[in-house]
């Protein structure tokens, strides 16, 4: 039906730009009558890119003022320190964008690491280890998704429950002990370098690219934003809301498990009490990057900046030998300043 809309659309495109006598032409009320003044365009651009620009300025400033900051070793160290947060932030972004919430990621990291280490110990097969770890993560994620999407359990409570249960499992399977990893192939993953960059950093970068494309250029991403913005409207528009939510959580579990395996390889053991409080770090990075907790809004670039800000903060404080107690204070303060600056921008935008 109405197939001519497509053709019509093309015709309109062509005709309206030539000077045709088509009476419909005058009806185009929009662009012609409300021109954007250049100043306004510039401001919008500035507003749009204020976060990356802000971070760039900060980075340059720090490079000049903080000793040892701008060195290959340090920058690589910085990136390594946020590699896990970065990976998981990619999927957490999707999760938050769809108006959900996931507190279970920290436990999943620990569990995947412990499980991987145990499988490796038993089978000596890297392939089985990776498959086993990822599968466990995907299952945990899918479980969260089913609870939340189909059984309609509140996301906070559901993932808090899985957080507890998965942590418990991590302790139980490992008897509370770190599980050592001796397999060189597996360990080498954590410190092999490609093009001068350690693999974990490259994996994180790949995550940002993949999930950036997923968010912006696929139905999956667009529908994720839609169900976050207005679930009822999305459902009526034919989005399979429940299924999509399960997929989002499944992906989250998968990527988190990958992060857990990478962490295990880096620290050459599966630690059942690893990554406690990790979930708040990840969520903060996302929110700092402009992802809305009310759903419907997400920018991969923002998340990247959010993650980098978190990492840089920690890095610089340690470089500057800030006292542990004052580090709390500073972290809070800087977090505040970052969002306040960001806030100024949106306020400017709004009025």
């Amino acid at each position: 039906m109405l197939k001519q809309f497509q053709t019509l659309a093309v015709q309109t495109m062509n005709s309206s730009h030539s000077s045709d006598p088509n009476p419909e032409h005058d009806m185009r009320v929009h662009s012609s009558e409300q021109p954007f003044v250049p100043a306004d365009k510039q401001r919008r651009w500035l507003v749009e890119y204020s976060m990356p620009i802000g971070y760039a300025v900060l980075f340059i400033l720090l490079s000049f003022t903080v000793e040892n900051f701008f060195s290959t070793t340090n920058i690589i160290g910085l990136m390594l320190s946020v590699a896990q947060i970065g990976m998981v932030a990619c999927t957490m972004m999707l999760c938050l964008a769809s108006r959900d919430f996931d507190l279970s990621v920290g436990s999943t990291i620990a569990f995947a690491g412990v499980l991987g280490a145990i499988i490796l110990e038993q089978t000596h097969s890297v392939a089985l280890t990776v498959i086993g770890g990822l599968l466990a993560g995907a299952l945990i994620g899918a479980g969260n998704g089913v609870l939340i999407a189909y059984l309609r359990v509140n996301a906070l409570i559901a993932t808090l429950a899985t957080m507890l249960m998965v942590r418990g499992l991590a302790f139980i399977v490992s008897h509370g002990q770190a599980v050592g990893i001796a397999n060189e192939d597996f360990i080498s993953f954590g410190d092999t370098r490609l093009l001068g960059l350690p693999l974990p950093i490259l994996v994180t970068a790949a995550c940002f690219v993949v999930f950036g494309v997923l968010l912006n250029h696929t139905v999956f991403g667009r529908n994720t934003l839609a169900i976050g913005g207005n679930p009822e409207a999305a459902r009526l528009a034919g989005v399979k809301v429940e299924r999509l939510r399960v997929w989002i959580f499944l992906l989250q579990g998968l990527i988190t498990a990958m992060a857990g395996l990478i962490l295990a390889s880096r620290i050459t053991s599966g630690q059942p009490n690893a990554a406690q409080g990790f979930e708040l770090d990840v969520i903060s990075a996302c929110v700092l990057g402009g992802v809305s907790l009310q759903g419907g809004k997400a920018r991969i670039f923002g998340v990247l900046i959010g993650v980098l800000i978190m990492g840089t903060l920690e890095n610089v404080m340690n470089l500057m030998d800030v006292d542990a107690f004052y580090q709390y204070l500073m972290r809070g303060l800087i977090l505040l300043i970052a969002v306040l600056l960001d806030q100024l921008k949106t306020t400017a935008h709004r009025i």
Partner: protein
Amino acid sequence: MTAYLQFDQVSKHFSGVRALAGVSFDAHAGTVHGLLGENGAGKSTLLKILGGQYRPDGGRLLVNSVPCQFNSAADAIRAGIAVIHQELQYVPELTVTENILMGRFPARFGLIDRNKARRMVLQRLSEIGVDLDPDARLSHLSIAQRQMVEICKAVMQNAQIIAFDEPTSSLSYTESEILFRLVRELRSTGHTLIYISHRLEELYSLCDACTIFRDGRKIVTHPVMAQVPRETLIHDMVGRELSDIYGYRPRPLGAQRLQVRGLRGKNDPTGCNFSVRGAEIVGFFGLVGAGRSELMRLLYGADRRLAGSVLLDGVPVPANSPPAAIEAGILLCPEDRKEQGILAQASVAENINISCRRHDLRVGFFLRRNKEAARADFFIDRLRIKTPNRDQEIRFLSGGNQQKVILARWLAESTMKVLILDEPTRGIDVGAKNEIYRIIQEVAEQGCCVIVVSSELPEVLGIADRVLVMRNKEISGVLDRSEATETAVLNLALAA
């Protein structure tokens, strides 16, 4: 005689959009002043300035010859101004009483006098003639009932100036009548009333004076509206002539395509039966809560089906799943654009493409940006959606333009067999209505079944081949176009 309310060179810009450009006019006490204009002409923006929600960039506002500057809605309320906004502003989880008295509870030392509050509200509701449970939560009411709550809330502010922004767009016949009585009563008691609507009939019957807007500018103020011919008004509003806005063209009807048998949901005592032929436009009319929206949602699978079946071309349509209904070719444009329609933070293009993009994806997964852009531009153009560009977030559009975008979402579908439009022209200007009616006919001409649910009687009569009237969750009658007169339809809608 000086005017009680004066607008003097009021202007308002939003980033990149000029919503109002130096608008001046006067409204007098004891009159109803109508505001007319295309979607996006700036009418609601003016009322938001009046209500203290926006501050004007330029110009001023005088109440009783005193210049006023409002910094918040509270300031405007204090100055004796009540505004009933186009987008309803209620708290879904609170009760009718609490919503109506929000901001002004009768209280002693901060403790609410619940009985007094309830009594006050009950009394006012019955004075107005609205039968509503004061303890019902708003989330349990239909939109029309919510609208009546909003009206009651404004009236109870004891304001001198009351402004109505398209109050009838979600009311059906009975409530509209109640509202008209209320407006006339308020006029007779010396209030200054501002009234926005896209329905010319009601403007003619209510308004003393009127002002016409186009693109943020005032075109003209008519001190005596009754003397202005309809054609002049329409021309001033949309900048062109429109003779017959329905443009009904009879067409040959096809075989029966859609059959609904004993369809029953949670609230229905009995099931509903009806069928629609190919190329047929069926209008559904009924009073508030007659159950039209509920029936359509059942048909579409948006609500739980308790019994009954839906057959399309003889094939059963799966229950309880809108995606399955869409797959089968049934589409529903919902009645509540704010709750069920718009993705507020997404762009206009995104809102148009969300559903139909599944037909033209690349590798089944990736979007085709230029195709989507072209489609968005096509509809922006054809429905004359007023937006700076297709990437504007839809929440910054005027109400009517949002409605057009949501309609476009469904009109853009290329595989539809049944198109259900629930209150499609709610808040839409005459020019665009005309365009929408033309598209509806086009759709029907291609053999689709079209169902139009509307509370605007002239619209139902104007475009439908057949009118189904609902009352008390049942279909109380079926009238052919030739039999469907205003009285006949209303009798079926109201009769016991």
